[in-house]
Structure formats: structure tokens, C-alpha cells
Amino acid sequence: MAQMTYRDALRKALHDAMTEDEDVFVIGEEVGRYGGAYGVTKGLIDEFGPERLRDTPISEPAIVGTAVGAAMAGMRPVAELMYVDFIGMTMDQLCNQAAKIRYMFGGQIGVPMVLRTQGGTGRSAGAQHSQSLEAYVMHTPGLRLVMPGTVYDAYHLLRQALRQPDPVVFIEHKALYAMSDEVDLDAPPPDWGRAVVRRTGSDLVIVTYSRQVHYVMQAAEALAGQGIEATVIDLRTLNPLDFETIRAAVEPIGRAMVVSEGPLTAGVAAELSARITEECFDFLHDPVIRVAGEDVPISVSTALEAASVPSADLVAETARKMLV
């Protein structure tokens, strides 16, 4: 057992992967000498040198495109995008190139790269540095999508992402880097693509991922004090999506809420809600309720920022309304 932060767990995952496989290298802005804008790669350059912690100019499309080429040429790049908000600049390389190459070229070659980035609110960083853009990724066939919410998952999912044959977008949450937890890294790793049931209860199922796991768990504790017991599912990977775990929980209970920090409309919560409604329709007592970000950009004002994404209070309040 070791006490470590989400940030340390990510660093250790990179460290261990780079030690094990010399084809793994990191490429991105400030990843080497600076140690990453959020400190994830701090110190790695001392051990692995500047070729494996390759600092780049501020040229996002070329960073991602270079990783695509390096992956095709046989290595295993980890490209870092400092903020997921910059993903728009790299969309061609990510969605038209990385995601399509295996398919377009008839299965001749894959693009085994990881795009590491971070998103979400919590720093008053404003409209262009606080978004939750996972739906852009989830909407593109050919991309895997990972969003760890715990220290343990940060480590294991990054290790597993680095063993995938296809491109993986790995989105961390900026508000979780300092979160610390006791983890047993020698315990058997989770099965890739499996959701985890964080809590069981018989009144409703709440499906979520990333930072919202913590808000939902807080809400579930508060609800338990009022006699409402929730099952909480942390998806961990959005692609692959473990629908079987969702189904197994929802069918006997017949009541589901999905929680996501991203904007409501056409977001991840919308997809999950549609899927549950389609597949578990005969078992549902209520419509599946989405608790998600408001359909607005994120403000720099701390008050507006906090109000524009789900809170533990909103989750608990919504659950109570569903159960009256």
C-alpha cells in the first residue's frame, strides 16, 4: 500500500511504462524541463532524457500529428495536450487521421498512441480552459476514451491505455491532481473497459465518471442518511463502454440517473440516457434523468463557474425528487 496523489499515480504510470517499454515516449508542451503544466511529468526527464520527454513548440496540431506518425512507425507515443480545450485545434489529426487510419487502410496498420490531457472546472480558468469535451471524442468511431476518477484508476488505466492497439484519449480532471489516496499498486489491475460499482443501494442507480464520482458518492452518503440508497457506477472508460454493468444494476432497480460535468445537450449523459432507455425500457419506473453541465460556456467568476456544473447537492436533490 502506498499513499499517493492522482498526479503521482499518473507520473508513476508513465515512469513504469517507460521503464518497461523503451518505445514509450512523451511529447508535448512543457513536458520535459518544466515537468508538465500540472506537474505530472516532473522529474521524468532526469531519468529518461530529453528524447523521451520531448518538449515541443506551441504547435498542437503538429504535436498530435507527430504522435500519429510515430505510432505508425512503430513507437508508442504519449502526446500531451495541456488543456482538453485545445483539442479543437488538433481535431483533424485526432479524428480524421488517428481515428481513421486502421479502417481506411483496410486494417494494415493501427495508431497505438495515447493523447493525455486534462479538463473540467475548478480553477476560475474561464471559458477556454475549463471545458469537458469528452463528447467530441466519444462521438468519433476509432477512438478509445478514458476518464479516471480515482488515484488507483489513474495509475492502472494509464498503464492499460499504453498497451492498447488503438488510439486512446486519456482525460484527467484538473481538480483531482492533488487528491491523495492509499493504493495497492500490486493488487491485480482492473479489467480494461470494465466499470466499477462504487456503492450498492436498492433505490436508484447513478452512473458517472471522472470527478463527478466524488460528488455522486458524497450525495449518496447524504441520501443514505435520509433513507435513500443509491448504487453508484464509475464508468472509468467511456470507450469501451461497459453497458453490461449498467444493465445489471438498472434492471432490478428500475430507476437511473446519469451525471456528467460536460454540457447537457448531446453529451455523454445523453448517450448513456438513450442507451439505458432503449435497452432497459421495460424495467424503468421513471425517465432516466440527466444531471449535467448547464448548456453554457464556463465563466471565470467562481460563483458562476461552480453553478454551471453539477454539485453533490444537485445530485442529492434530484435523487430525492425522483423518489418522492
Binding site: 503538429a62 480553477r123 476560475s124 448547464e294 471565470v300 467562481t302
Partner: protein, 346 residues
């Protein structure tokens, strides 16, 4: 027009006192922004101070006319102030307050004021550059005589969008100016760690723009270079100006610049356009007392901004749904209302 000019402070320095005053206002404002953060009154820590770069803001703005438009990067407080912004409304925006220029929605990195031609600061490196091509295109088609200027850092020199933008500006003879404030660093990356082509203006010349590099130590030299470039742009030849300076402090409020040696920083901070202008003014016969009075006036003006920001109201929560679309258009429905509506149905 592409050879860097040697700098001398004795050019047309008739307005040096005014330029000094503006530079002092900018620096004092930035110092107060630092204070706002330390006192826990700012919205977040992503505040980028332009201390050491005042000649770029003040020198270029001195070459602009009413009706000209501009965009800035994330380190743009000084430019906006030099263009006539109200420092109280700026500080309130940096604190995320309702009285700020953008009512607490934008903040330091997304401040704007259409009245002053400020088409917006930007937190995406290079993100504000192409908008000036569009603004210049309109100025050209409507024959307004306005110029549109993009301000950005040396980091943006490695973004492809700059080259697409300069190429179009040159192709269509647009009244556009690209101003690169080269403070030698993009976060922890020194310019020569980001490119081999460090003679930045040569890239613009290759696209058919006028291009110059000027030493930011001397605000008069910056102003004169900017005047040449801006005047030519107004006449239909777009231009590019790189201004060499040094970022005195860390990238944002939490960066202590461990990647720079104390010796380097000390050397870099000697490149102080305010000290340089002050020495030139003293040489020209201005008394220390006169200059101290200018400094004191700037301090009094900027002191007031903190109280103004602190005492201003937070934006009301209902404002969250405003301005997603135009006034009069339906606002997005608040989530809690939608949930109530859905659950009330059965």
C-alpha cells in the same frame, strides 16, 4: 524595411513624458493585479503580468488611431490599458465581478471592449490572430481607413494559424498589423528552444509583409517602428513588428521560473523600458520630483482599482444563461427547471 534598427532614445521623443506616464500606469496596474491575487481577491491564479513589456503596449498603442481595432493574447492587460481602458473595470473583471468589462464571464484572459476596438483577449495561443484579418477585410471593403492589430507572444510564432493569417493579409493587401511581443519565453521554453528561425520578422517578410524587429528597451524606438508599420498597413501593406523584451516574472502567478537562473533574471530585468525612459527624461532636463509625481499619481489611480473590485458584486447566478445567444433569443433552460418539469410529468 527588414533590418532591425539600432535603438536610440533621442529620436522623436517629444512625447516621452506621456509614454513614460502610460508605461508607469501599466506597471502599477500589473503590480496591483499581483496584490489582488495575493489577497485572495482575484478569480483564480491564471493572471499573466506584462511587467517588463510596457514599451510594447504603450509604443504600439501610441501609433494607433480612433477606430482601429485589435486583439490581444493572455498577457494583454497593458495593451488594453494603454488603449484607454478603465482600470477599475479591468480589475473588477480580473476579480470576476459584475462591474467588470465582461461582467465576470471573461476574466483576465478574455477581456474585451468593443467601444475601444478591443475585439478580445484570448487564452488560446494564437487564437486571436485571424480575427484581425477579418476586421481589416471589413475596413478595406468599407473603406473606413482603420487598421487592425493582433498582439501575441513569441510562443504564437510556432502556431500555424499565424502563417495562414499573414499570407491572406498580404495576398489581399489588408490593413493588418501583427505584433509579436517577444519576451523570450513561452512558459518555460526559451525562444531558441522553440525555433531555429529566431529572426522572427523574416518570416513575415517571406510572406510579403513589411517586417521589423525593435528593441523594447526604448519605447520611442518602439513607437516609431510601430508608426512606420501601422502607417504602411493603413496604406494597404500589412506589416509585422517583433518587440524584444524580457518577461520579468513567472509565466502566471504560481510560476516561480525555476528554469531561469537568478543571474539571467537579473540581467533580463535590466532591460527595463521604464528605467530607460526615466533616465532619458532626466537627461533631457526633467526633475526627479516631476517624475515621482507621475509615479505617485499612477499609484493612487491603481490603488483605487482593488477596492473597486473588492466591493463590487458577484454576477447574479441568473446571468449564467444570458449572452449564450443574443438578447431576445430564448435562454438555455436551467437544468434544475428541466428536471422539475420532467419529474412533474408522471
Amino acid at each position: 524595411m527588414n533590418a532591425p534598427k539600432p535603438h536610440i532614445a533621442t529620436g522623436s521623443n517629444a512625447d516621452l513624458l506621456g509614454l513614460y506616464r502610460q508605461m508607469r500606469r501599466v506597471r502599477t496596474f500589473e503590480e496591483r493585479v499581483g496584490e489582488l491575487f495575493v489577497r485572495g481577491l482575484s478569480a483564480g491564479s491564471m493572471l499573466h503580468l506584462s511587467i517588463g513589456e510596457e514599451s510594447a503596449a504603450v509604443g504600439v498603442c501610441a501609433a494607433m488611431k480612433d477606430g482601429d481595432t485589435f486583439t490581444t493574447h493572455h498577457r494583454g492587460h497593458g495593451i488594453f490599458l494603454a488603449r484607454g481602458a478603465d482600470p477599475e473595470r479591468m480589475m473588477a473583471e480580473i476579480a470576476g465581478k459584475q462591474t467588470g468589462y465582461c461582467h465576470g464571464k471573461g476574466g483576465s484572459m478574455h477581456i474585451a471592449d468593443m467601444g475601444l476596438g478591443h475585439l478580445g483577449a484570448n487564452a488560446i495561443v494564437g487564437g486571436g490572430i485571424p480575427a484581425v484579418v477579418g476586421a481589416a477585410l471589413v475596413a478595406q471593403q468599407r473603406r473606413t481607413g482603420a487598421v487592425s492589430i493582433a498582439f501575441f507572444g513569441d510562443g504564437a510564432m510556432q502556431q500555424g494559424i499565424l502563417y495562414e493569417s499573414m499570407n491572406m493579409a498580404a495576398l489581399w493587401d489588408l490593413p493588418t498589423v501583427f505584433v509579436c511581443i517577444n519576451n523570450q519565453y513561452g512558459m518555460g521554453t526559451r525562444i531558441d528552444q522553440a525555433t531555429k528561425a529566431t529572426a522572427l520578422h523574416e518570416r513575415a517578410v517571406a510572406f510579403g509583409l513589411n517586417g521589423e524587429t525593435v528593441d523594447g528597451l526604448d519605447v520611442v524606438a518602439v513607437r516609431d517602428a510601430a508608426q512606420r508599420i501601422v502607417d504602411a498597413a493603413r496604406g494597404g501593406t500589412p506589416g509585422f513588428l517583433a518587440i524584444d523584451c524580457y518577461r520579468f516574472f513567472g509565466h502566471a502567478r504560481k510560476d516561480k521560473s525555476p528554469y531561469r537562473s537568478p543571474g539571467e533574471e537579473e540581467e533580463g530585468r535590466r532591460k527595463d523600458p521604464i528605467a530607460f525612459a526615466r533616465a532619458a527624461l532626466v537627461d533631457a532636463g526633467h526633475g526627479e520630483a516631476e517624475l515621482d509625481a507621475i509615479d505617485a499619481a499612477a499609484a493612487a489611480e491603481m490603488d483605487a482599482t482593488i477596492d473597486f473590485a473588492d466591493l463590487s458584486e458577484e454576477p447574479p447566478l441568473s446571468s449564467m444563461f444570458r449572452d449564450v445567444f443574443a438578447v431576445g433569443e430564448p435562454e438555455p433552460e436551467p437544468l434544475a427547471d428541466r428536471i422539475d418539469r420532467v419529474l412533474a410529468r408522471d
